[in-house]
Each structure stands twice: as C-alpha cells, then as structure tokens.
C-alpha cells in the first residue's frame, strides 16, 4: 500500500509539475534558509571558538574599573574589550602585577603580564607603517608561546632598564621590511622615538591587518617612561590592564578568586567596598559570545520556522485544490472498495511526499548556498552542514506535510462516493 501511495503521489506531482514546484517553493526556501544559516552559524561558532582555543581558555583578563565617588562602580563589560576607554583607568599598576607573581598568594597562576595598547606610527627610514602598539612585560611571550622567527624577546634586564627595543609582528614586518631579511639590530622610529629591532614574531592569527600580527611590541616600562607616562596617586606605574593565565583549565575559577583577593588587599578595599577592577575569564567571554550566536541561531530558526509554516499553508491550499479536482477519482476509488482510512492515507502520503521533496531540494540548495559563502570568503569562513541540521530539516518538512495534509486528506476521505462520482 505504501508503494502504491508513493506511486499515486508521484503521478499526481508529475501531472502538475509547475504547480508542485510552486507549492514546494515555500518549503524549499524555508529549509534552505535553515540549512544555510545554521551551517554559517556553526561556522561562525567554530571560528570564534577556534580563536579562543588559540588564546587558551585558561586566560583571564583583569581590567581596571573607575569607581566614581558616591555612584558605585562603573563596570566595564568584557565585550568592550581591552581597547575600551576604561583601560585608561589608573587602578592596576605594575606593583599589582608583581604581587600576583607571588606563588604563595596566587598559587594557581602560571603567568601574568601587564598590557597597554596604543597606535603605532612606525618608520623604517622612509617606509611608513601604521599598526597597533602593545606594551607588555617579557612574560607576555608565555601566553601561547609566541615565538620569534628572527631574534628574541626582550629579557627582564632590558625590561627593567626601560630599553628602547621592539618586536615586530609578522604582518608589520612585511610592511616595514618589504625586502625581507633579518632586521635585528636595525633602527626604526616608533611615534618619533628611535627603537632597536630585537626580533620578529611568528605569524599567529592569519597574518592580516587587524590581527595580532599587525602589532609592534615594546617593554611596558619604556612605554610608560617615554610615550604615555601614567602613575597613580601613590606614584606607582599604571599597567593598563593585566593578563593572567591559570596553571590549568580547571584552576581558572580558583585563580580568579585568588587574584580578586590579592588585588583587593593591594588596593586596600574594605569588606563592603566595590572592586576597582574586574576579572573575567576567557570562558566568560566565550560564554557571552556563545549566548549571542545562540540567540542569533534561534532568531534565524524562528524566521525559517515561519517560512516553513507559510510553506505548509501553501501545501494545504494545493492539497485542497487537488482533492476538489480529483473528486471523481476519489469517488471511483471508494466505489471499487477503498476504505476511508485508505483515502486519508493516500492524500496524507501525497502531502508528506510533496513536503519532503521540497525539503530535500531545500537541503541541497541550502548546502549549496553555504558553500558559496565559503567560496566567496576565500575559505576564511567555514560552513558546517551537520547531520543534525539535515535530519532536523528533513523531519520538520515531513511534519509540516503531515500537519497540513491531514485536513485536506480528511475532507477527501469524508466524500460521499455517490456525489463524488457524479461530480463534474
């Protein structure tokens, strides 16, 4: 009976090809939207997670927070990022960094480094390059083992003596030294101050403008001495913000607590006082981004759901037309012995088949669209058509066919055979 239903359905669809395609269009669009958008959403998710994985998920940001008198804390959201104006707050100092290095006070911390950022206007002779400037301590190299292709990182001695030395990111290197070669020992000018190149960094995040590879790294001490002198009320050198890495993924939460305790002590904050800093783990950030992409996915799924619903109404409409057109056929089938349930099943099967066919075309189309996006983005973007989303789209279109096919099929099954046979 199933085979027979399928055959009848195929014949009915083949008999009205244009109408069938138009009917399926709603489902096709809905399903292809679901498939392509979910694929791209997964791709974005994977891309972001990949970036986080490169950073290491045991990374913690400590950023200063301006506590306004009488108004409580003005908390900087982590999404605002290290470049936020909040970074100009004076509450985190190099003394804090030293305090955090104390193993007995922060046992779960592996590395800690201050980080200040700014713009870099660099000249190699007449070759000009505009990039980002990162001022930090030698420990910054330990965050993900950022190695060098030429030369080496500045050491503690160079850091402490505020030497004018610079490491060049891989992208910055190609711009400043278009001819290549070992630049170690050469002089460049950074924001009108002469620096000696001591190393070139390995490519880390795509080697493009806007990535970490476009930056030039100098000792924070030098930065504070010559470029952006900042001291707090106690005369301590301001760090900007601070990066810390936990010894282990599982120790992140413990470390966050230890860091918070130490900094409150250092800053002399009373029991009820507001923190003048904020500690956030990479994982928090990841969760925030995940929540955003998740909400986006749900939003897209809702739109796709609406279009599937509309597609379902289209199917119901055409099935009702089909039942009317085939009244005599239904009358005949009943006359020669088809029970109501058989007529019902025949039309439901037809509706489901129509919907599934639309769903299958939609899956193929959605997959194709996702691949097109990947091709146009030169592969920097992945589209993940997961078996889960295919199964979901497939079963959802079958469900739509079932739901919207039942009523027309029920109408067909209820037809009186005498009147149906007489129908013109």
């Amino acid at each position: 009976m199933f085979k027979e239903n399928l055959r009848v359905a195929l014949r009915a669809i083949a008999a009205n090809k244009l109408r069938s395609v138009l009917t399926m269009l709603g489902i096709i669009i809905g399903v292809s939207a679901v498939i392509s958008l979910v694929a791209l959403g997964n791709g974005v998710d994977q891309f972001i997670n990949g970036q986080f994985a490169k950073q290491g998920s045991n990374l913690v940001f400590i950023i200063p927070v301006r506590v306004e008198q009488g108004k409580g804390a003005n908390r900087a959201g982590f999404a605002a990022g290290p470049n936020s104006r909040q970074g100009q707050s004076l509450s985190l100092t190099l003394n804090d960094v030293e305090a955090l290095k104390n193993k007995s006070r922060v046992p779960d911390l592996a590395y800690v480094a201050p980080l200040a950022q700014g713009g870099a206007r660099a000249f190699n002779g007449d070759t000009k390059y505009l990039g980002s400037l990162r001022a930090t301590s030698p420990d910054y190299r330990h965050f993900n083992n950022w190695g060098t292709t030429y030369g080496d990182w500045f050491d503690e001695a160079a850091y402490n003596s505020k030497q004018r030395v610079a490491l060049i990111g891989s992208y910055a290197y190609t711009k400043l030294f278009p001819d290549g070669g070992d630049p170690v020992g050469l002089e460049i000018r950074l924001n009108d101050i002469a620096f000696r190149v001591i190393g070139v960094l390995k490519e880390r995040s795509g080697g493009t403008q806007g990535s970490e590879d476009d930056s030039i790294i100098i000792p924070l001490t030098t930065f504070r001495e010559r470029m952006q002198p900042l001291k707090n009320a106690k005369g301590q050198t301001v760090a900007g913000f601070v990066l810390a890495q936990a010894a282990d993924q599982d120790k992140v939460d413990a470390m966050v607590q230890q860091v918070t305790d130490v900094l409150r002590q250092e800053h002399g904050i009373q029991f009820a006082g507001e923190d003048d800093f904020s500690v956030g783990s990479q994982r928090d950030l990841q969760n925030t981004v995940g929540a955003v992409t998740g909400a986006l996915t749900i939003f897209l799924a809702a739109i796709a759901g609406i279009s599937l619903f509309v597609g379902g109404i289209g199917i119901m409409n055409i099935m009702l037309v089909s039942v009317t057109e085939r009244t005599r056929e239904i009358g005949l089938r009943k006359a020669i012995g088809a029970r109501r349930s058989i007529i019902l099943m025949q039309f439901v099967a037809e509706s489901i088949f129509l919907s599934l066919l639309g769903g299958t075309i939609g899956i193929a189309l959605g997959w194709g669209m996702a691949q097109l996006v990947v091709i146009f983005s030169n592969g920097s973007f992945q589209a993940l058509v997961t078996p889960g989303s295919v199964a979901l789209a497939f079963s959802f279109s079958a469900f739509v066919g079932l739901v919207f096919g039942v009523y027309p099929a029920w109408r067909a099954s209820q037809l009186n055979p005498i009147e149906a046979l007489r129908y013109e």
Binding site: M1, K3, R328, L332, I336, G337, R339, P417, I418, L421
Partner: protein
C-alpha cells in the same frame, strides 16, 4: 472477435461467435470457469420453465424504501422494492429519470443504505453495514462499470485494472497476473501499458469492464455503459457483456433508460415512482455480437 479472444485464452471453451441461435441450449463444455456450471444450470432451468427456486439468488431485496428529507418535505425515492436477481441473469433496470432507478442502483451497489427493508447480496445481509464494511463488500462482490468510464488518467491500463486488487490487499505479482488476464478477457491483451487517455472510448470502457471483472465479483453493475459511445462501439461493448454472461455466467445488471440496452437483456425490470411496475423475462433478446444492433 470475442469468440476468438475467449478461444485463445481457453482453447477448450466452446466455439462461439457471440451468442448463436441455439444460445439458450445448455452448453456442453469443460471450460473450467468456476461459475460456468451454475451459469449453465440456471440457463437450463430458465429455458425449461422450471421454478426459479432452484436457481441461486444473488440479490434479494425485501421492502426497500429510501426517503430523503428536504426541509419539511419528505421525498420517497423508493417505496417498497422487492427484487430478486439470480446468478447468471442479464437484466436491465429501466425507468425514466426521477423514477428511483439511480437510488435503487446506489443501494444495490452498496454505495447507499436503504431507509428500511432488507438487502441480501450474495448471501450477505448488507443493509446494516457501516461505510467501511460496505467498501469491503463493494470491493469483493461488485464490479462497477460507469457511463464515463472513470479511469485514472496517465495510468497504464493494467494499473487501472489492478486498483480493486490493491484495496483487497492482493500481492503485486498476483495482482498483475490477474489484471493481465482480465484485460485479455476483454480483448486488450496488447494494450496493457497504454495509458487510459491514449485509448479510444470503447477501449477505455473495456478497461473499465476488466477492472470490474478482476475481483471475480458476484455481480457487475453497469450504469449506462454505452451512454458515451457511438452505436457501433456500443454494440461491441454490449456484445462483450453478453459474451461474459453467456460464457462465464457473469450476473450483469444494467441500469439504464436506453431501450436498446433493454432489448439485449434476458430480463427487464421497470421502475417508476419508486416502485417496480414490470418484470419481464424473454428468450427473444437481440444478440449484439451479430452486427450493428445498436443503430437507432
């Protein structure tokens, strides 16, 4: 031509060129058709004027009424119809439009239920059955032939014929075997895979007759089967019915207002105003296989 057809299928069947003059004589045959004997027996008894009691009744209705309520008015479409139709009958139910002929056909065809009265079809009481049970009865015991053929378009003949067997849950191989046999029986053995809309009107009606035959039903109920055909094709179809009746003992009931059909039947039941007004048996009916007997 049907003689040839039947001969080719069952070589031991009697030589017949349709119905011959001595048609009413009992045929000495061994054609192996299961109801052949009963058919011959019934025709034998009829020929000899023996009581109808020993013939097997296929349809027995007693006091069938059918009333329709239209607002306050009550319309009596049938008011007490008693008919008995026997196996092997070739009978026309005749009446003008509005006579209750169609209502009677619908009840006899198990498409409708009587308001009161009893109806026994092939030994089964059907008047109290529900819709699904009636569908089963129609499937097993009745072969319908309609004026407008009612074939599925864009569907091969053999699949059209197989439809009732699908609803009877007959397996695929058995289905196509029986459908092919039925199509061979009506002379369309070479048109198995033609779509209905590629066939002439007469051929389409033959496919419809094959579809009616394929379940080996107790009766064939034909509603104006020649109404959409020209007189020559109409005569051919009538010849086919007469041959099926004579050779296979098929019980065939025509519902018609066409006197030409009635003139080819062994028995004519006349209906008017919801009552039977005449029931005549004749041995003097026309043989449609002998020339163009359908010319008006």
């Amino acid at each position: 031509m049907f003689g040839n057809l039947l001969k080719s299928k069952k070589p031991q069947a009697i030589e017949t060129n349709g119905l011959s003059d001595d048609d009413m004589e009992p045929h000495v045959n061994g054609n192996g058709v299961s109801n052949g004997l009963a058919s011959n027996a019934s025709r034998f008894t009829m020929n000899n004027g023996v009581s109808e009691l020993i013939r097997k009744p296929v349809i027995e209705t007693k006091g069938i009424t059918k009333t329709y309520k239209m607002g306050d008015e009550v319309l009596n479409a049938l008011s007490g119809v008693d008919i008995t139709i026997y196996q092997g009958d070739l009978v026309a139910i005749m009446g003008p439009s509005g006579s209750g002929k169609s209502t009677l056909m619908n009840i006899v065809g198990c498409l409708d239920k009587p308001t009161s009265g009893t109806y026994k079809l092939d030994g089964v009481d059907v008047e109290k059955m529900n819709d699904d049970q009636l569908a089963g009865i129609r499937n097993q015991k009745i072969g319908f032939v309609f004026q407008s053929f009612n074939l599925l378009r864009r569907t091969p003949s053999i699949e059209n014929v197989a439809q009732p067997l699908i609803y009877a849950n007959v397996g695929g191989r058995e289905r196509s075997k029986r459908s092919r046999e039925a199509l061979e029986m009506v002379g369309l053995g070479k048109r198995l895979h033609h779509h209905a809309n590629e066939l002439s009107g007469g051929q389409q009606q033959r496919v419809a007759i094959a579809r009616a035959l394929v379940t080996d039903p107790a009766i064939i109920l034909a509603d104006e089967p020649t109404g959409n055909l020209d007189s020559k094709t109409g005569a051919e179809i009538m010849c086919l019915f007469q041959t099926l009746n004579a050779q296979r003992g098929m019980t065939i009931i025509f519902v018609t207002h066409d006197p030409r059909i009635a003139s080819h039947c062994k028995r004519v039941i006349r209906i008017a105003d919801g009552r039977i007004i005449g029931d005549d048996v004749t041995v003097d009916f026309l043989d449609a296989c002998k020339g163009d007997t359908f010319r008006e």
